[in-house]
């Protein structure tokens, strides 16, 4: 690795990028367009939502309510919680998406139709979960007089997105989707283009090493990725008033790790493809599962177990967990360490595959 050579590759790449008006327009255009297009809701039914239970009443009636709600299978009321603080922590770390809270005065509240008898606290950073909770809110509660007609038996408290605005959920996800599209596609194409246009044949006859070339070509995209993150966040704030509750620095750190993961994937694809068109096909082949299974389009909780296993492999799944946690729930990277670790493992594995395939020969 030689710094002057690396620098000259980066400069060359930036000069080419500046003259490639289409790519340049896409770098700015894709985030802007998608933000506007996706700024609307995608609602779907949810089952087996990870949920906690804080039963402060602990009476026969309250246990009955828990059993009845569990029977709907919308929530998996698996985690018993002891205090409101525990509810808070479990929600923020993403361990549960909802919690059923039954107050100590549950029995007396049941007698009074003007006050809700129980609460479901939901993670408003995932909009499909809100929708599911709204369904549950309409759940009739059995009282002494038989099936009651009142529908406000359970109050839904939306923790992180009180107004239930779709954009609040979509914008953080879009950051991940846009980075996936541009980072994987543009790096794979940029690297294959060098080969397709014959530049590589000229370069491999020079002392340049394949890693200088790869890193020099990929580094500018790290900068581009961070610019895109900024564009989406700024537009999200200006157009949709999306909050950023956690640390900005941690958000960019998470984005950086995700960018590196996506670039690794792009480099790997470039070693497989023989033409720019093939690189594009391969990139799209990796987009589909990422967009469909990562939790951006459909809720992770609503997917069959097999699909959830696939989702765990995808970098976007982990990035979505982090960015939603940081932006909407104010979580810290420390609380989201498992997602960060998963991305780290992904980078190591994919890059090793790519390294084993980068060669400086024509045959």
């Amino acid at each position: 690795m030689q710094l002057r050579r690396l620098g000259s590759i980066i400069v060359k790449e930036l000069r080419q990028l500046r003259r490639d008006k289409l790519t340049f327009a896409m770098i700015i255009g894709i985030p802007t367009m998608q933000l506007v297009l996706f700024g609307y809701a995608i609602n779907l039914d949810v089952r087996h939502l990870e949920a906690g239970v804080l039963d402060q009443a602990n009476t026969a009636r309250s246990r009955e309510l828990i059993a009845e709600l569990a029977a709907t299978e919308v929530m998996k009321l698996g985690k018993p919680l002891q205090s409101p603080e525990q509810v808070d922590a479990a929600l923020r770390s993403g361990e549960i998406s909802a919690a059923l809270i039954i107050p100590p005065d549950f029995e007396t509240r049941l007698e009074r139709p003007d006050r809700p008898a129980a609460q479901i606290v939901v993670d408003g950073s995932e909009q499909v979960i809100q929708a599911a909770a709204r369904q549950l809110a309409a759940f009739p509660i059995y009282d002494n007089t038989g099936w009651t007609s009142r529908t406000s038996g359970i109050e839904v408290v939306n923790f992180y997105n009180p107004q239930r605005r779709a954009a609040v959920n979509t914008v953080p996800g879009l950051v991940g989707v846009i980075l996936t599209m541009t980072m994987v596609l543009f790096t794979a194409i940029a690297l294959v283009r060098e080969r397709e246009r014959g530049n590589l044949e000229m370069l491999i006859a020079t002392p340049v090493s394949p890693w200088e070339l790869t890193i020099g070509k990929v580094l500018p995209f790290v900068g581009i990725g961070l610019v895109q993150v900024t564009i989406v966040l700024l537009l999200g704030k200006l157009l949709f008033d999306v909050p950023l509750r956690g640390s900005v620095l941690e958000l960019y750190a998470a984005a950086l790790v995700f960018i590196v993961a996506s670039l690794s994937l792009g480099v790997f694809l470039s070693t497989l493809a023989t033409s720019q068109f093939q690189a594009m096909q391969m990139a799209f082949f990796t987009f589909l599962p990422q967009i469909l299974l990562s939790g951006f389009m459909f809720p992770y909780a609503g997917m069959p177990v097999a699909a959830q296993y696939v989702a765990e492999i995808l970098p976007l799944t982990h990035f979505l967990r982090m960015i939603r946690g940081i932006m909407l729930r104010g979580a810290t990277l420390g609380e989201l360490w498992h997602s960060l670790a998963a991305l780290g493992v992904f980078i190591v594995i994919v890059l090793s595959f790519a390294v084993s395939r980068v060669r400086k020969r024509l045959d």
Binding site: G7, K12, R15, G198, E201, R361
Partner: protein, 315 residues
């Protein structure tokens, strides 16, 4: 290896699956030579050159280039060679100057050295006024001159040029060859592949390749001198009829109409001229037949014809 040799290869072979692209080629190129590879497309010229520069691993054979064992020392060799292809492999979306700046950095020239060298090359290859023009908008001849400038930026001792002039007009080809001889004058060894006879004829020595084999090698002069009495010029008013008459005749390898006369390449032998004359007379064709000096095309046709006898002229 002998100090006077730039390239020495023995038994060089490359197979792609069942196809043998280069078949047991022996090659000796002396320093300061302009060595030509003449051959049709698919004869293995490019593959041989790629193996010699270490861009491709040979299936079998020994290669020694400038004292480096290839492919083992390929990386070390790359500092001393230049490699240029028919296809323009610099960046079309960079300017002339930017392309050369980039290559200078790749070859680890210091900034002042790079500036001086680039200025010198732009002058020498008539590109000084094109410095800020995008390479993609240059003419074919200008592109090849820029590619050559990029290839010699680091002052290589040995240049591999793979059909460098296939895509340019005759005037540009002549200029390009002027530049090549200038480089040779300064001590650079050149290995040039081509399918132009006139270019091959300008080489100090050449090898004719066909189906991955060297079918003839030597200086152009010796190769042509090896074909005495085999080329006849038939002057007649009906050259096409004469061609039909001689078609399929024993001993005729190839014929070509040149204006109003017919050029006949035969297998040779003392009787050949008489046989041709008699055959034409038998058909009642008025014709004058006399031997002429063979040219390189005749050498090429003889060397690549099916029932050839290998011709290796003494150098």
């Amino acid at each position: 290896m002998n100090d006077e040799l730039a390239i020495h290869a023995q038994g060089l072979t490359k197979r792609f699956g069942t196809l043998t692209a280069v078949d047991n080629v022996d090659l000796t190129v002396r320093k300061r030579e302009v060595y030509g590879f003449l051959g049709p497309n698919g004869s293995g010229k490019s593959t041989t050159i790629r193996m010699l520069c270490g861009l491709m691993r040979p299936t079998a054979g020994e290669i020694d280039v400038l004292g480096y064992k290839i492919p083992r020392d390929a990386e070390a060799l790359k500092r001393h060679i230049g490699y240029m292809t028919q296809r323009f492999t610099l960046y079309e979306d960079l300017t002339v100057g930017e392309n050369l700046d980039f290559l200078a950095a790749v070859h680890e020239l210091s900034r002042p050295a790079a500036r001086a060298r680039i200025g010198e090359l732009l002058e020498r290859f008539w590109l000084a006024d094109r410095r800020n023009q995008l390479a993609g908008t240059l003419s074919g001849g200008q592109k090849q001159r820029l590619a050559l400038a990029g290839t010699v930026l680091h002052k290589p001792d040995l240049l591999f040029l793979d059909e460098p002039t296939s895509a340019v007009d005759p005037q540009s080809r002549r200029e390009f060859w002027e530049s090549l001889f200038e480089l040779a004058d300064m001590g650079t060894t050149l290995l040039v592949s081509t399918h132009y006879m006139d270019e091959a004829e300008r080489c100090t020595r050449l090898a004719i390749l066909d189906h991955g084999r060297v079918v003839a090698d030597g200086t152009p002069h010796d190769l042509m001198a090896n074909l005495p009495g085999r080329t006849l010029l038939v002057e007649t008013e009906k050259p096409r009829e004469a061609q039909r008459t001689l078609q399929g005749m024993q001993g005729v390898i190839a014929m070509a109409q040149i204006g109003t006369s017919l050029r006949v390449l035969g297998k040779g032998g003392e009787d050949f001229e008489r046989q041709v004359t008699e055959r034409l007379q038998a058909k009642g064709l008025q014709a004058q037949v006399h031997p002429i000096a063979p040219n390189l095309e005749d050498v090429f046709v003889v060397a690549t014809s099916k029932d050839k006898e290998p011709s290796h002229a003494a150098a």
